[in-house]
Amino acid sequence: MSRRPHRSRKNQRLALIVGGLAFLGIAAALVLTAFEDSVVFFFSPTDLAAKPIDPERRIRIGGLVEEGSVARGPGDGEIRFLVTDGTTTLPVRFVGVLPDLFREGQGVVAQGRLAGATFEADEVLAKHDETYMPPEVADALKKQGHWQPESAAKGKGS
């Protein structure tokens, strides 16, 4: 019987769908690239140094809390620390309660405004990396000298 036209109609439908999906994918990629600034959740200190930001605008910055930089006071519940992305560091001031995971050498995202050289944060969130291990394993790695907090926090470590 007439098998051929039947089959080609199916191929036509398949081609239409594949073509439509490709078109849609390209459109989505273009839109997401155009709106990249609203898609990113935070800027790194380097991003911030590279582009002028309106001091009135509420933004989020993120990076690692620099080792040994966390200082409390002088005010009640006031805390100061440095956020680094490896190249640029940014001083942050925050008054409030920190999440449990906030610690030196770990990731952090702060929301607030840039006041001069200091970032005045009104909210601080902790960002953790993708490594999961028991404390004993982490200790053993540190003892053997395989531990690099910077790269471990970025997920490139052991």
């Binding site: 199916k10 439908r13 398949l14 769908i17 439509g20 999906l21 849609l24 994918g25 989505a28 997401l32 990249e36 898609v39 990113v40 959740f41 935070f42 800027f43 790194s44 993120g62 920190l98 999440p99 449990d100 995971l101 906030f102 610690r103 770990q106 995202v109 601080v124 969130l125 902790a126 960002k127 953790h128 990396d129 993708e130 490594t131 999961y132 291990m133 028991p134 404390p135 004993e136 394993v137 982490a138 200790d139 997920g155």
Partner: protein, 239 residues
């Protein structure tokens, strides 16, 4: 392919598989719970909350697997018009929506103690919320037509349009800065999860997959019965 398009043959195969899948679900979830809650270590940073991973991550995987099932069935229905593919697509969306809801809720319960917030509008969390709405939209659209053929076609088109969201979910954590951490298991360069935590994670994932399979087969059976009843009512009113 056409052999499986025959509903009776498919149902015979599926029903033979059903008790094995159910047994696998019980065994895998049981051992996953045992290892995950009692026989696995706390995390060096996150402490005991790492146990939320064993219910959260497999749910997120099933949310993606559910959409893949939905999209492939929709493609098969649009191109080859297999009625069984339509039933599979309709069966997949509420199941996928359930797993997406689990992933979102357990994620919030993990985010609050660790990140310090229940929810943020970062690219990963937002795209998973969009996934939930795609599932709900698909459920609503397929049932919005009197003619199931038209409903199935409209739903299939929506499901295929939503496929763009899948790579966005998967790669959102690599393409943009997000609060959510990057992938730990399905990544280049191998997993970054300790083997002691990997075991309960994989057992739970296997259990979730078995639950997914059982629910999918049962829902296809329910929808097939619904079709046959509809057919009967139509032929009765025609007569």
């Amino acid at each position: 392919m056409h052999r499986f398009a025959n509903p009776t043959r498919f149902l015979r195969l599926a029903n033979a598989l059903l008790p094995w899948l159910a047994a696998a679900a019980v065994l895998l979830l049981g051992s996953g719970l045992w290892l995950g809650l009692l026989r696995s270590p706390a995390d060096y940073q996150q402490g005991e909350t790492v146990r939320i991973m064993y219910v959260h991550v497999p749910a997120a995987w099933m949310a993606m697997a559910g959409y893949t099932t939905l999209a492939l069935s929709s493609l098969a229905f649009l191109v080859w018009k297999h009625p069984l593919a339509d039933l599979a697509a309709r069966a997949a969306s509420p199941i996928g929506a359930s797993f997406t809801a689990i992933a979102l809720v357990t994620g919030a319960l993990w985010g609050q103690p660790m990140w310090g917030t229940w929810w943020v509008w970062d690219a990963r969390l937002t795209s998973v919320l969009v996934l939930l709405f795609l599932y709900l939209g698909h459920m609503a659209l397929t049932n919005a037509f009197d003619d199931p053929e038209r409903g199935g076609r409209a739903g299939a088109v929506l499901a295929l349009v939503g496929v763009v969201n899948l790579p966005i979910i998967k790669f959102s954590v690599d393409w943009w800065n997000t609060l959510h951490q990057p992938a730990s298991v399905l990544r280049l360069g191998g997993s970054t999860i300790d083997p002691a935590m990997m075991k309960p994670l994989f057992l739970m994932a296997g259990g979730y997959l078995a639950v997914f399979g059982v629910a999918l087969i049962l829902r296809i059976r329910a929808l097939y019965a619904e079709r046959r009843l509809r057919q009967l009512r139509l032929s009765l009113t025609d007569a």
